[in-house]
């Protein structure tokens, strides 16, 4: 009996033989510990399934092989198959053409009891295309004829049985031919393909099957209101608690819109892919605030929208990425692909319609003013439903502006395949300690938290932390008024 690598888990595809407890020549008893296997999940002891002698060990300790691969052979004294009194060979109806499905035995050139030599003419077959002479594949005695002259049978049906000469072994079967009953009944001719649509009584549609499975329901739990009592999607949803409206019960069921579904899938996948770590810095936005205030009215008058903190942050992020390029990258296999371009995605909340994340390409080449305009354009397009395919591709880093809702801190979810995402949370007046001329003093400053989630496969806390520090430094120390003019 062959000992094979077992499958020690549904998603396990291979295993490593860690320890052999027997060697070649040893006897092993059924259920006795034979070897141990390690997978990436578990170490397991494997017993022998039969009693016998180890005749071969094919995979050494430490070797890793796929599930199903032969590891060793135990001679348990049993033959592979019960021996027959004498070896025989079935003669089957051959396939005499690619599209031929049956054939008629026209002439037998031997009868039961006759000796046949290898390659000697044994019988003839007629199909609707051709008449062919068929020789015997081996030498032997024609033991019995199962299909008479004039009978039509399907390809593969056994026509006769040859008893092989003493000492001869049955040659290995070629392609598997379907085994037939000793007296094969001629197969009926194929009927014309049905054109009528299949009909089933009360079929279960794919969506109904899915909903039943997702909610651990059985079809018999649901009353069907469709044709012939068919259970419709509506019926399952109504059973669960009503689709979109409170129908008695304590639960209102609101099925996901298509966009919600896609968002949900992406978020789960992102968390499953990247080990998220949250880091945050507090930024003193005084410098930004002064510049914003001074430009407030003239900007609004000229551009038609207000100048927010976001373009300043976007500008600082781009500048900091220049010094910390690994923030602007993707994990591909076991490598970090660092992107030369900085394409900033800006998350825009569309309420019912969900979250969209359009991209501003080469954001590092834009000034603060240009960024403000670009961000505003892209958000407007998103709200008007005017974004197209190109607007969504190629992002290398994402900004998620949660601050407009007044939050203190947010742990955002990375937009795959990026390795980091920055949440810009609420800016509000806070007491802050600064080193003044007379020592420490408390002043009131506009303070806000920048919170970055990063992928710990790609970078470590120190790198991310120093990057955030740099962003803060740029925001706090740049002459923003000069940048804007």
């Amino acid at each position: 009996m062959d000992v094979i690598m077992p499958q020690l888990g549904e998603t396990v595809a291979e295993g490593t033989v860690t320890v052999w407890h027997k060697k070649v020549g040893d006897t092993v008893k059924a259920d006795e510990l034979l070897f141990e296997v390690g997978t990436d999940k578990v170490e397991t002891e494997i017993p022998a399934l039969v009693t016998g002698i180890i005749t071969e060990i094919l995979v050494a300790e430490g070797e890793t092989v796929d599930v199903g691969v032969k590891l060793a052979v135990i001679d348990d004294g049993k033959e592979a198959a019960p021996p027959t009194e004498a070896a025989t060979k079935d003669i089957i109806m051959p396939q005499l053409g690619e599209t031929v499905a049956d054939g008629t035995v026209t002439i037998w050139h031997k009868k039961a009891g006759d000796e046949v030599a290898a390659d000697e003419l044994l019988f003839e077959v007629g199909t609707d295309k051709v008449e062919t002479e068929i020789p015997s594949p081996i030498a032997g005695t024609l033991k019995e004829i199962l299909v008479a002259e004039g009978e039509t049978v399907d390809v593969g049906v056994t026509l006769a049985v040859l008893a092989l000469k003493d000492g001869a072994t049955a040659p290995k079967a070629a392609a598997a031919a379907p085994a037939a009953a000793p007296k094969a009944t001629p197969a009926p001719k194929k009927s014309k393909p049905a054109t009528a649509k299949q009909s089933h009584a009360a079929p279960i549609s794919p969506v109904v099957a899915r909903l039943l499975a997702e909610h651990s329901l059985s079809i018999s739990d649901i009353t069907g209101t469709g044709r012939d009592g068919r259970v419709k999607r509506k019926d399952v949803l109504a059973h669960i608690g009503g689709a979109g409206s409170a129908v008695g019960g304590d639960t209102e069921v609101v099925p996901f819109t298509y966009t919600r579904k896609l968002t949900a899938e992406h978020m789960v996948r992102s968390k499953a892919t990247s080990p998220h770590v949250l880091q945050a810095v507090e930024v003193d936005f005084l410098g930004v605030e002064i510049a914003r205030r001074s430009m407030k009215d003239s900007w609004k008058a000229e551009h038609g929208f207000s100048l927010t903190y976001l373009p300043f942050i976007a500008n600082a992020v781009c500048e900091a990425i220049a010094d910390f390029p690994r923030i602007n990258a993707s994990v591909v296999g076991e490598a970090l692909h660092i992107h030369k371009k900085i394409n900033l995605a800006i998350a825009v909340d569309l309420g019912e319609e969900g979250l969209v994340v359009p991209v501003i390409r080469d954001a590092n080449e834009l000034s603060v003013a240009d960024l403000a305009t670009a961000i505003n354009d892209v958000a407007a397009k998103a709200r008007d439903g005017k974004l197209s395919g190109d607007d969504f591709t190629g992002a290398t880093y994402t900004l998620s502006n949660n601050g407009s809702t007044g939050t203190f801190i947010t742990a955002p979810i990375i937009s795959q395949p990026q390795v980091a995402i920055l949440s810009t949370d609420g800016v509000s007046k806070k007491p802050v300690v600064i080193e003044g001329d007379n020592g420490d003093e408390i002043v009131i400053r506009p303070v806000g938290v920048l919170a970055q989630s990063f992928d710990h496969r790609a970078i470590d806390g120190a790198y991310s932390g120093v990057f955030l520090g740099r962003v803060r430094q740029i925001l706090e120390e740049t002459d923003w008024a000069a940048e804007l003019s």
Partner: protein, 325 residues
């Protein structure tokens, strides 16, 4: 806003683009003085002159070959093939030359040309002047395929097609030429690859194209009134690029998809969309996808034969009543 006929929207779009870009030129049979056999290019000769608005001999291979040569060398030609059936006469130029020149030279050529053509049945012209062949074009990589249903879509999508850097076949539905619709004033440029949801419902999503769109809308109205069945109607507008996301969103909402195609039964555009939905939205389907098409025969010419041949609102209503529960 102005009310324009579908045929006038064609001329309006061409005029808008010819004014904007002096490299836009048009050529075709009888398009100059005569303004086109379907009166789709009326006024363009007077406005832009004989150098930019050129009549050609009856020579479809020459018309499209010349358009291709011009598009390769700096112009933006709009070539008319009078009846879409005639694309068969110059099909080599369309599929072997225009559709492939960029790919097989790995990008040495950009081919910003538009082929406009009168498509579809309903006008009693007989089987060689009534075919809907947008599905032929959809099957060939390298061609963008557009088929608008309203005058506003004609103007906006033709302008977008003219501005597109790739070859676009613009299928005008001849049975819609006389229909009228509101068209916004001023410059109008739509977007290829965007379907439009014309009506929102909860029970079934009907996806239609060109002349089938108004019929689908009429059917939806009747279904609501007579059966209380509420249907979503999606006008695909653009077969390549295809707005699969809008179709998915709407089918996911209702759980049922019905396509209405003027093409004969085999290999119409609806077969492709059905296949994509069946593959990618299988677990959102509450029943089989149904395709309403013309029968798999050429188009007969007599009134009642042609009317019964093409899908109409009555057939759409009956089919949905029968197949969608």
């Amino acid at each position: 806003m102005a009310e324009l006929a579908y045929r006038d929207a064609v001329a309006a779009a061409i005029a808008q683009e010819m004014e904007r870009d002096e490299n836009v030129v048009i050529l075709g049979e009888d398009i100059a003085e005569a303004g086109g056999v379907f009166k789709t290019t009326v006024g363009l000769l007077d406005k832009f002159g004989a150098k930019r608005v050129r009549n050609t001999p009856i020579a479809e291979q020459a018309i499209l070959g010349a358009a291709m040569g011009a598009a390769m060398t700096g112009l933006r030609p709009i070539a008319e093939i009078m009846f879409s059936d005639f694309l068969a006469v110059c099909w080599d130029i369309v599929v072997n030359e225009i559709a492939k020149a960029r790919y097989l030279t790995d990008g040495q050529f950009t081919m910003p040309l538009v082929i406009r053509t009168a498509n579809g049945g309903g006008s009693r012209f007989g089987s060689q002047h009534s075919q809907s062949v947008e599905n032929w074009a959809m099957a060939v990589p390298g061609l963008k395929v557009v088929a608008p249903s309203t005058p506003a879509d004609v103007k906006g999508l033709l302008a977008a097609a003219i501005r597109d850097p790739d070859p676009v076949i613009f299928f005008e539905q001849k049975s819609l030429y006389a229909t009228k619709g509101e068209v916004p004033d001023g410059e109008l440029v739509d977007e290829l690859g965007k379907a439009k949801v014309l009506r929102k419902g909860d029970d079934v999503t009907i996806v239609a194209l060109a002349a089938m769109v108004p019929r689908a809308m009429a059917a939806a109205k009747r279904l609501q009134k007579e059966d209380g069945v509420s249907a979503t109607v999606v006008d695909v507008r653009s077969l390549v690029p295809l707005d699969t996301q809008t179709i998915f969103k709407e089918v996911q909402h209702t759980g049922r998809l019905v396509t209405v195609e003027e093409n004969p039964r085999l290999c119409g555009w609806g077969a492709e969309i059905s296949s994509i939905v069946a593959e990618e939205l299988f677990y959102d389907l509450d029943g089989p996808i149904i395709r309403i098409t013309s029968p798999h025969c050429p188009i007969p010419s007599a009134d009642d034969l042609e009317d019964a041949y093409l899908p109409n609102a009555e057939r759409i209503v009956e089919t949905i009543r029968r197949e969608v529960d």
